[in-house]
């Protein structure tokens, strides 16, 4: 146990004394999020509701008028078509229930989502139950959050997985064929389990601290509250950090690539997953969600960003437990497999 704490202290000291780690873990995320906040907060404040024409006789015309995100214009068929041609509206909900849109932009996707949602719940609505269509729509599609929230959430999701880098670093300290330091440590009576566990605990602590620091910064400086549900958010951040480190352990231990290959691989992977989650703007995310919906369902960056947004902006716990369980179980499996790769053995070459 004493050695466990000694390994932990070593890991924390190394993180705190490494200026590049400090920069990429603490300063860079703040800089990036600040940049995003500056860039997108203007867009957010100017974002208009989606103009849509609704023909008389549309079965859910009244419901559509209640949805805040829509600017409903009642129009007859010809007038509605003229509005669409003149780009005064983005779509027409026709009397027969069909949605007519001009193209495949974000607004058109939102209109389509709303149309589908109305059809799905139509029978329930007909039964007289009270439904909040706006909430239902937002919970399902998350489109309403706008570019600021999409990019911020995706970035937070990415930063929450930064433990990846701690994970590969831990492996490169204990697996003799990966570094001369690891070879040296392997000649000492060190316990790998103790070293890896200590690295895991300190890594989760550091990574979580970084993400929570980021959320506090957004809350205090930019008045964007991603800590409205602090307990669940903390739990999400802890499990996501654990999962990030577990991926790092797995990538670190499962092959003999150098750190120079594993670090860029992690960066590339995270950027790709973050882009799919909307960090580079909603376009790619929409494309992924329309064409590869399974990818974003299990994209860890998107799982984090979606859950953190729902918890703190929508007050919804949808998918929270499921995502936490996925992170914990997948993380444990990755850790166990990594430990098998890292078991003490004699190597064919160093």
């Amino acid at each position: 146990m004493k050695r466990f704490f000694s390994h932990m202290a070593l890991n924390v000291k190394m993180s705190l004394k490494d200026k590049s780690t400090l920069f990429w873990s603490f300063i860079y995320p703040i800089l990036l999020l600040s940049l995003m906040a500056v860039a997108f907060s203007g867009i957010q404040s100017e974002q208009k509701s989606i103009a849509v024409a609704v023909e008389p006789g549309h079965p859910y015309a009244d419901v559509l008028r209640q949805i805040d995100v829509l600017d409903v214009k009642d129009a007859e068929c010809d007038e509605a078509l003229k509005l669409l041609r003149d780009k005064d509206v983005d779509g027409i909900y026709r009397a027969d229930g069909v949605l007519l849109v001009r193209g495949k932009g974000m607004n058109e996707t939102v209109l389509s989502e709303i149309g589908s949602e109305l059809k799905k719940v139509g029978s329930v609505y007909a039964s007289g139950r009270s439904l909040d269509f706006t909430r239902k729509y937002v919970e399902r599609g998350d489109q309403e959050q706008g570019m600021l929230y999409v990019t911020l959430s995706a970035s937070i999701g990415m930063f929450a997985l930064y433990g990846y880098f701690s994970g590969i670093s831990i492996v490169h300290h204990v697996q003799a064929n990966l570094s001369s330091l690891a070879a040296r440590l392997s000649t000492t009576p060190i316990s790998r389990l103790s070293y890896v566990s200590a690295g895991l605990v300190s890594g989760v602590a550091m990574s979580s601290l970084q993400t929570i620091g980021l959320l506090l910064y957004l809350k205090w400086v930019w008045k964007i509250d991603y800590l409205a549900d602090p307990v669940r958010t903390l739990l999400l951040v802890l499990t996501a950090s654990f999962f990030g480190i577990a991926i790092g352990l797995f990538i670190g231990a499962s092959n003999r690539w150098s750190l120079k290959a594993k670090v860029p691989l992690g960066i590339a992977l995270m950027l790709l997953l973050s882009a799919a989650s909307g960090m580079m703007g909603p376009g790619f995310r929409l494309y992924v969600e329309n064409n590869l919906p399974w990818l974003n369902r299990y994209n860890p960056v998107n799982m984090i960003s979606r859950t953190i947004y729902r918890l703190n902006v929508l007050g919804s716990t949808k998918e929270f437990t499921e995502n936490i369980l996925i992170f914990v179980v997948a993380g444990l499996i990755l850790c166990i497999v990594s430990l098998i790769f890292m078991r003490k053995r004699q190597f064919k070459s160093l």
Partner: protein, 306 residues
């Protein structure tokens, strides 16, 4: 190590390599780069698997799980292997702590190790900020702080300035005097000559010869080369020299004669006496005793630094 064979695909790194070291010795593994020295050490440390043969340390078969053996050995690798971000004292403390859990004892070990490598002035420095020579010293301190019974140094003086090199060699001698058995790999024959009780000459993964310096030199029919600048060189003078007892060969070029004497180290004074008696005059003279390089050359057909 008995009849150890280690192959890297087609390359045979250790070729029926035999080697042993007794308690209290300093043994040098001497060979050029790529001769198998580091491979032998890595097999001894249980880091590398091998294809044939036996490797035992303290009479026990080497195993990566053998914590008792690991507790008793120390290793100073060729590559600098410590935590660059941490200070000198934090590094040594961490490594010593892997062996000793009692903080008081550990801190005493750390103090000793720091004094041993002469890093007292640099304890708070980040390891990465030390000069090359000081980093080497730290590399050594991390490997010996726990006072190992058996310590292996893998070319610890590569790229080290003369001052640090002397410091390191003196330190190793002192460790040995304090009871540690030392295995020292190098391709610097001067180091092996200066430091080691016994030397194992390695080439292409084989143990070419082993013994004390004198034993090794005796192996190769050695001679002492005496270089003379003759005042009046002539064939008659060379003939006179060649008849002097102990002279096995004489060559001359531009007034500079090279006389080979045997046995080495014993004939120089009688040679000078004979030169005087025969009125052979010279303006300068120096003598070269045989070195390990001569031994290596004879055993392998190539110079150690080829």
């Amino acid at each position: 190590m008995k009849e150890v064979v280690k192959r890297y695909k087609e390359v045979v790194a250790l070729n029926r390599f035999n080697f042993e070291i007794n308690e209290g010795e300093i043994v040098g593994l001497l060979g050029p780069n790529g001769s198998g020295k580091s491979t032998a050490i890595n097999c001894l440390l249980g880091l590398l698997s091998y294809d044939e043969g036996e490797v035992e340390v303290f009479g026990r078969r080497v195993s990566p799980d053998d914590m008792d053996t690991k507790q008793r050995i120390g290793f100073v690798p060729q590559d600098l292997s410590f935590f660059a971000e941490l200070s000198v004292i934090d590094n040594i403390r961490y490594f010593a702590g892997l062996y000793e859990q009692n903080n008081v004892k550990r801190d005493e070990m750390v103090r000793e190790a720091i004094a041993f490598v002469g890093l007292e002035k640099y304890t708070k420095f980040a390891a990465k900020k030390l000069s090359g020579g000081l980093k080497r010293r730290l590399n050594i301190a991390c490997g010996i702080a726990h006072r190992p019974e058996f310590v292996m140094f893998d070319e610890p003086t590569v790229a080290v300035d003369a001052q640090s090199r002397n410091f390191i060699l003196e330190g190793i001698k002192e460790m040995n005097q304090n009871g540690s058995t030392v295995l020292y790999t190098t391709h610097y024959l001067e180091e092996a000559q200066e430091l080691c009780d016994r030397i194992v000459i390695m080439d292409e993964g084989r143990n070419m010869a082993s013994g004390t310096l004198e034993e090794l030199i005796d192996l190769v029919d050695p001679t002492e080369a005496v270089h003379l600048v003759l005042t009046h060189p002539s064939d008659a003078v060379l003939k006179l020299i060649s008849n002097i007892p102990g002279v096995v060969d004489v060559t001359e070029e531009n007034g500079k004669a090279v006389i080979l004497l045997t046995p080495p180290g014993h004939r120089l004074s009688s040679l000078l006496e004979e030169l005087k008696n025969n009125e052979i005059y010279y303006s300068s003279l120096y003598s070269e005793l045989p070195t390990l390089n001569d031994v290596f050359l004879k055993l392998t057909g190539k110079a150690l630094r080829d």
